[in-house]
């Protein structure tokens, strides 16, 4: 762990607590998504498929109506926490920047990322709101919309990772806001999100929005990235001596 990153915080117990809080909200976001998106909501693994016929999707939605609805509530709670998670990272970067450009741009990306993620849950909720009234193709559009928001937004979420990595790389040795390996993890995460943009070309196979490369890889990488960044924030907050 970077010596200075903890020393700066050692003088400010409020900062330590707030950083730990932001880290724990990252964990909470993961748990809430596992409940809402994986267990109940049918988003990962995806119960709808990009190549479903509209009527087929309607049947799937009706079969899982209650669990999808409850899952949507958990998902929107999860996604709202991206804001606190991102603010914690930006605050830690801010403590080490004389001219806090990267911290401010991180805030912009975190806010935009949170908004986009919230819209994923909105789209999912609308898909299950009144499947009997909407035209089947409209339900399909909501499913498309949810996955496009989540996966096609690579420059936003990938850019956020790059903006976390750059101030670490540009720091003077011993003055890094996070350990240098964290910068590499962020670049790797950005790389793993990249195949998400393939969803615009394909409706079946590994690059479609239900495929292993364009969907599973970015989704798993994203929540693994949150887990790593949360762990690092909490470790910095709790590490008094290093």
């Amino acid at each position: 762990m970077s010596a200075t990153s903890s020393n700066v915080l050692a003088q400010d117990s409020m900062s330590r607590k707030s950083l730990a809080f932001c880290g724990y909200t990252g964990y909470a976001a993961i748990i809430l998504f596992i409940i809402g998106g994986v267990w109940l909501g049918g988003m990962l693994p995806p119960i709808p498929n990009a190549n479903d016929a509209p009527a087929e999707l309607v049947a799937k939605v009706k079969d899982n109506l209650l669990s999808f609805r409850i899952g949507s509530i958990f998902m929107i709670a999860s996604f709202a926490l991206f804001g606190t998670f991102g603010a914690g990272i930006a605050a830690q970067t801010r403590r080490f920047e004389t001219s806090p450009v990267f911290s401010y741009v991180q805030i912009v990306f975190a806010a935009a990322g949170t908004t986009i993620a919230l819209l994923v849950a909105f789209a999912w909720s609308l898909m299950v709101f009144r499947p009997d009234t909407y035209e089947p193709s409209i339900l399909l559009m909501w499913a498309d919309f949810a996955y496009f928001l989540a996966l096609f937004s690579v420059p936003l979420f990938g850019g956020w990772c790059v903006l976390i990595a750059l101030p670490i790389f540009f720091s003077e040795p011993g003055r890094e806001p996070f350990p240098r390996w964290v910068a590499y993890v962020n670049l790797w995460a950005a790389l793993l999100f990249a195949p998400g943009q393939m969803v615009i070309f394909f409706k079946d196979g590994p690059f479609s929005w239900h495929g292993i490369v364009a969907m599973y890889l970015p989704f798993i990488a994203f929540f693994a990235w949150i887990a790593v960044m949360s762990w690092v924030m909490i470790k910095i907050a709790h590490d008094e001596n290093s």
């Binding site: 040795p173 390996w181 590499y184 793993l192 195949p195 196979g205 490369v213 890889l217």
Partner: protein
């Protein structure tokens, strides 16, 4: 004073770059498995699609990246020996090899699209376009990194700069390695 002549057993570059390399190799391993499965399940489609690829493009790009890796290795070594003197040319040559690779790739993609072969044609071309595009992004990032190395390599010797140069060089070697695998799977198998 740092003694450059002392021989120490150490891992080149920063530890983080090795984690990145391992992670990237894992992801590309998934890509390689997908190509292999496609090759097994749709042998006829893959075989006939492969025959439409121009081996000369692939071979030229392989030679470009291998040569580029050689230049980068010399550049890093010269930095260690010469304290930033006389090494500028090696990084420039490596950058040039990367840029020519990308130009060559654009010509190759363009030729295929002009022939009506797109990512939507069949699974072979889907993998071909997507995976070579992801690799081309690596090459582009590698060229940007080499530009930083070019600037960094002019500075007087410090162990930190040497580690930075080695980390960038390791990434470039990774780009090279990934291409060799893609070249074999798309053009030769």
């Amino acid at each position: 004073m740092h003694d450059k002549s002392q021989t120490q057993s150490r891992i080149p570059g920063e530890p983080g770059i090795w984690a990145f390399v391992t992670g990237d190799l894992l992801v590309f391993s998934l890509f390689f498995i997908l190509i292999a499965i496609g090759n097994q399940e749709q042998g006829g489609v893959f075989s006939s699609a492969r025959s439409t690829l121009d081996l000369r493009f692939g071979l030229a790009n392989t030679l470009l990246l291998l040569t580029g890796s050689f230049f980068v290795a010399i550049g890093v070594e010269r930095y260690r020996i010469n304290d930033g003197r006389d090494n500028r040319i090696w990084f420039r040559l490596a950058i040039l090899s990367g840029v020519i690779f990308l130009i060559n790739k654009v010509f190759e993609w363009n030729a295929k699209v002009s022939d009506g072969l797109t990512p939507m044609t069949n699974d072979f071309f889907m993998y071909f376009f997507v995976f070579t595009a992801i690799h081309a992004i690596h090459v582009f990032v590698g060229v940007v990194i080499l530009s930083f190395l070019h600037k960094k390599s002019q500075a007087p010797f410090t162990p930190e700069t040497q580690r930075g140069l080695e980390s960038g060089a390791i990434f470039w070697h990774l780009v090279d390695l990934l291409w060799i695998m893609l070249f074999a799977l798309f053009y030769l198998v």
